[in-house]
Amino acid sequence: MLALQGSFAEHLQALGRQPGIEPVAVKTAGQLQRVAAIILPGGESTTLRRLLDEAGLTDLLKARIQAGLPVWGTCAGAILLAARIAGETPHLGVMDITVCRNAYGRQIDSFSAAATIPPVSPDPVPLVFIRAPVIEGVGPGVQVLCQLDGRIVAARQEHMLATSFHPELTDDDSFYRYFLSFLG
């Protein structure tokens, strides 16, 4: 669990409910070397990028993801993963998606919804959007998992998962189980 800024405590709490794993807060290169999968939390993506750079984690994280480290980016984390960001230079640029930040507007436009996402869960999953980005486009190797009003809000590319919303803010663990299934 990348623990530089944002909703990492909520993610760690949710991970603590999952059997057979040992959640670790990652703040240093040494910790990043040891994990078997990583979640990039919600927060502010410009802040996260600055902190990754200052800690010398950006290149290492990118290299590990490119070598197959399972990764899940929620909201700001999804922005970090994207190969293309509308109007901006990408951060890690590892996942073949185009994102648009704050696509729904300001805080007053934040909202919650629910959707049935068959690969993830047979039941409707609660979706919480906080100044959320959307995925505007995906490359050929990317599976679209969920669309809301015609806009992509969850996608998977092999070992990489991106969601516009925040499962860590709900008590529904289906996205955690889905992500942990990437570990085999």
Partner: protein, 292 residues
């Protein structure tokens, strides 16, 4: 609790572990974002200047707020006077992401705070102890910060408020259930919120430090005392090298538990803002005493 209140509390959760910086124009806002701020607070005068110049401090010019909104992608906050319904409505109409109903401005109402449930936009409010925090949350605040004594560069009041908050929570947790009602009467806080804190051991909303943070070590201190993030007002743009100090305070907030990092980022930062000893401030000019 309704959906809007939950979403507003959720936004505060996204700011955790971060630094929110006071800025007075678009240029400063860009410096703050570049340094790693999680949000900026748009205001016309930083608290140190309000303190020096005196007079009535009011909501900022909407033109300045709009320029700052256009300059950055991170959330933009702005201050309304305590109880000033119209200022808060103006800020909501401007699409501000968070309103600070702030004692740093001159209060507009000497008895009542805003009914924050009437707004869709989230509010942050200052508090000196658990009672004050729960009164503000009862009125609809989605986030709490210590008051500290803004514009002094002196951390002692923020420390006092955070310690008091934690002490109140610890005391409440040790009470048997039958004593909670009297406790709630003593601290003048809503009973249902008192029960909630007794069970969870923490405030039901995110709790930041504010008021007097001037150095990376000040930020680390507040995190060590249980704050979930830090507001820096005058401390950055009243110092010698704002961009570097801003980056250093961001680092110290993330790595508050690692003194080696705090030492490294504190090196050669140049002069911090000039501080004020609390005893030198007449009671009538203490901002923390504003709010009811």
């Amino acid at each position: 609790m309704d959906d809007r209140s939950t979403l507003n509390r959720n936004l505060a959760q996204m700011l955790k572990g971060g630094v929110i910086m006071d800025v007075t124009d678009a240029e400063q806002a860009k410096i703050a974002q570049e340094a790693g701020a999680v949000a900026v607070m748009a205001l016309e005068r930083v608290p140190a200047d309000i303190r020096r110049q005196g007079g009535v401090a009011r909501m900022s010019d909407p033109k300045m707020i709009k320029e700052i909104q256009a300059a950055v992608t991170i959330p933009v906050m702005a201050k309304a006077r305590i109880g000033h319904i119209a200022e808060a409505r103006v800020l909501q109409a401007l699409g501000i992401d968070f309103i600070d109903e702030s004692e740093v401005l001159t209060p507009a109402d000497d008895r009542y705070h805003l009914d924050k449930h009437q707004f869709a936009v989230p509010f942050v409010c200052g508090a000196r102890d658990l009672g004050e925090a729960l009164r503000r949350i009862g009125e609809g605040a989605a986030m709490i910060r210590t008051k500290g004594e803004a514009g002094t560069g002196n951390i002692v009041e923020a420390v006092r408020h955070q310690r008091q908050m934690q002490a109140d929570i610890r005391r409440l947790q040790n009470l048997p259930p039958e004593e909670r009602m009297t406790f709630s009467k003593e601290i003048a806080a809503p009973y249902d919120l008192v029960c909630q804190v007794a069970q969870s051991g923490k405030l039901p909303v995110v709790n930041f430090a504010a008021g007097g943070v001037a150095t990376p070590a000040d930020a680390a201190l507040m995190m060590l005392l249980g704050s979930e993030g830090v507001f820096v007002g005058s401390g950055i743009f009243k110092s010698k090298d704002p961009a570097r100090r801003a980056r250093a305070i961001v680092q110290a907030t993330t790595y508050y538990n690692d003194p080696e990092v705090v030492a490294r980022v504190s090196e050669g930062l140049g002069e911090a803002m000039t501080g004020i000893e609390l005893r030198d401030i007449p009671d009538s000019q203490k901002m923390a005493d504003r709010g009811w």
